[in-house]
Amino acid sequence: MSIDKKIIENLSKILKENNQDEELSKLLQALLEKLDSGEDFDRNQIVEEILKKTNE
């Protein structure tokens, strides 16, 4: 994958600091990769999954 590892590391770290689940980090990483691949995907579905895993 070509998303820089600094983005992934900081994403995971800052989500953790904000008491978010590791699953959320994985979903956001997957979204970054999908955006990078240029492929078509169901945007609403992935956003819904992300919000399901987001603690207020």
Partner: protein
């Protein structure tokens, strides 16, 4: 993970403005190709064609982009550029076809894998994930444009794009779009009219944010340009002034006097400010009140810890301290009044205030008015010095000097106007912040957040709104932190290299704050900028697991001999990728030889020129003398080998 190694093997051109020829960049496993071409013979065009071969520009290019590639022979209606590549062990051919009737471009790709030619630009997926327009524009670089990295936000934008930080903003947009969609579907808790009002307000704020961001970017560019112009004009103006020693001395004296007056004025402002920081100096009535307050404090000087035990002991005595017999009524009164004794903390605070008031009570009110007089005098002196300098400058009998002077005055006005706009753009929000046409980005962002919250409440979508806002803040933090880390690392790497590349200059990169900022001197020469820009690009484009060619037009333009040698040294030491440079004959000295001596890789020396120019016979003669075939291509010559490369002289013999 294995590396993806990309090598450019060469290209062929047909029916374009440049000759129909074939140039091989790798003949015998060379990692460096130096292509020598006289000025105006297609260096920049080839660089553009190489860019077009790696990224689908067919929907981006304009008619004029294609027109500049058209052959001078207007009967030719189609041209093509065929690029041969090697990606790991596979060979691939990319054909970029230009139609000069309707000014369009299209692609064909031939790969070993498909064993055939397919329409479109079909690069292997391992390349697609690294390559985007920004990457291509920086990898195929014209070093004459290096100054852009030191202006506006070019450098930071390249970092953002190449490290794909923009995807974080894309995610934020996805989240907000989803939220909007959900809110439009949900049942409103308020009237439809209210919901519509809020929707409209959000849309207006979003539009205004876009508008002022665009304006701000435009203003930033204008500001940079103006400052640049100012620096150049001041230099030019100084040079004209220096021609006459008397004028030069008079200007220097007047400039020194003006600087002295400016310092005096700012010192007087500082003194005055320190005086008015003390509120007792502002108003006699206020001072009296504070003094009375201190007097009254003296009456309440018993702190609680001492006071309580004292009065508890006293009521047990038969006689009071005043000598009277302690009766029931007196005991009751003492118990009542002891409640008003100050607590320990209050006493400490009041004690501090008391000390401050006593210590600050020593200034004469006349001091303030004297300070104001001093400011007024310093201002007058400054005006006199400015007028005097102005008189000297006006008296200089040189039209160019006067033109510059006038322009500098106008630049000063324009710069101040832009600075006011920047202040307005960054203004903080206040509690009355409800202007959808505000010019401050901070005010608008705060208003947008509040309005979105109101809208969420009206549509009963607070939970989703809070989640989206939380994610937005997290993604912003990730973006800021990552950008900072990348920039710090880049700056560190570049600064490690600078002392070697520029051993005689005390210059370092301070930061990349939108643009590359230098430390050690106010401005740098074009040669210095080029070398730092080079280091920036090499460091920036260096990717783990991805080895892509670095192609540069005019690699050592505007550089002295030392800089050329050092750049050659940087390339041979630092660049592991294939390196292709389009050189002018004037750039060859000190660069090519040094690269040849230092590089561990073999170098492919290529010399190419067209034969449709009037004076190309002289070039053909040189080729014949070096045993270079001159009839292989109908309107150009391509020669290989160091001998012809070093012996070749351009159109002008001094090239």
């Amino acid at each position: 993970m294995s590396d993806t190694i990309v090598k450019i093997l060469g290209w062929e051109t047909k029916g374009l403005r440049i000759p129909d020829w074939k140039i091989d960049t790798i003949i015998n496993d060379e990692n460096i190709a130096l292509i020598l071409m006289p000025s105006g013979m297609g260096k920049t065009t080839t660089l553009t064609l190489l860019r077009y071969s790696f990224f689908d520009y067919s929907k981006i290019v304009t008619r004029s982009d294609i027109e500049v590639l058209q052959s001078k022979n207007k009967k030719i209606k189609e041209g093509e550029f065929n690029l041969k590549l090697k990606i790991n062990n596979s060979k691939i051919r990319i054909q970029t076809i230009f139609n000069f009737e309707n000014y369009t471009m299209s692609y064909k790709t031939t790969t070993q894998a498909t064993e055939g030619t397919i329409p479109g630009l079909k690069l292997p997926s391992e390349l697609n994930k690294y390559i985007d327009q920004e990457y291509i524009e920086k990898t195929f670089f014209n070093l004459e444009l290096v100054e852009d990295l030191f202006k506006s936000s070019h450098a930071e934008r390249s970092v953002r794009k190449l490290y794909k930080l923009d995807y974080l903003s894309d995610i934020k947009n996805l989240l907000f779009n989803y939220l909007k969609e959900q809110q439009s579907k949900s049942k409103a808790k308020v009237s439809n009219e209210k919901v519509n009002q809020l929707t409209l307000k959000i849309s207006k704020i979003e539009k205004q944010i876009d508008l002022i961001n665009q304006e701000n970017n435009k203003n930033q560019l204008s500001y940079e340009k103006l400052l640049d112009e100012k620096r150049k004009l001041e230099k030019e103006q100084k040079a004209i002034g220096n021609k006459n020693i008397e004028i030069k001395n008079a200007i220097e004296r007047a400039t020194a006097k003006q600087a002295e007056c400016e310092t005096a004025l700012s010192k007087n402002y500082e003194i005055f400010f320190n005086k008015i920081k003390n509120p007792m100096n502002l108003n006699p009535e206020f001072r009296n009140k504070l003094n009375n307050f201190v007097k009254n404090l003296a009456r309440l000087k018993i702190p609680k810890s001492v006071g309580e035990s004292f009065f508890d002991d006293l009521i047990r005595e038969e006689e009071c301290v005043c000598g009277n017999h302690m009766n029931e009524q007196m005991i009751k009164k003492i118990l009542q009044n002891k409640e008003s004794i100050l607590s320990e903390e209050t006493w400490l605070i009041l004690s501090n205030i008391k000390t401050k008031i006593t210590n600050n009570n020593n200034l004469d009110f006349q001091d303030i008015s004297m300070s104001l007089d001093d400011i007024s005098n310093a201002k007058r002196d400054l005006n006199i010095s400015i007028n005097k300098k102005d008189q000297i400058e006006t008296s200089i009998d040189d039209t160019k000097y006067q033109e510059i002077r006038e322009r500098l005055i106008n630049i000063g006005i324009e710069v101040r106007e832009l600075e006011i706009k920047f202040q307005e753009y960054n203004e903080k929000p206040d509690k009355y912040n409800d202007d959808v046409d505000a010019k401050s980005i901070r005010k608008l962002q705060s208003l947008l957040e509040d309005t979105r919250a109101e809208y969420a409440s009206a549509t009963d979508t607070q939970k989703k709104n809070n989640q989206v806002n939380l994610l937005k803040n997290i993604l912003n933090e990730v973006e800021d932190k990552t950008l900072r880390e990348i920039i710090d690392e880049l700056v560190k790497k570049i600064n490690l290299e600078i002392p070697r590349v520029m051993p005689y200059e005390k210059i370092l990169v301070k930061d990349i704050n939108k643009k590359i900022e230098l430390e050690g001197q106010e401005s740098a020469s074009q040669g210095q900028l080029a070398r730092i820009g080079y280091l920036f690009l090499i460091t920036l484009l260096n990717r783990p697991n991805f080895n892509f060619p670095f192609v540069v037009d005019s690699p050592v333009t505007a550089m002295d001999d030392v800089s050329r040698k050092e750049i050659a040294s940087t390339i041979s030491d630092e660049l592991k990728n294939q390196y292709i440079a389009f050189l002018l004959p004037t750039e060859r000295d000190y660069f090519a030889e040094e690269l040849q001596n230092k590089s561990k890789s073999k170098i492919n020396f290529v010399t190419a020129f067209n034969t449709f120019e009037k004076d190309s016979d002289h070039l053909v003669d040189q080729a014949i003398k070096c045993n270079i075939p001159t009839t292989e291509f109908k309107n150009g010559v391509v020669g290989y080998g160091a001998d012809f490369f070093y012996k070749f002289r351009g159109i002008n013999n001094n090239e």
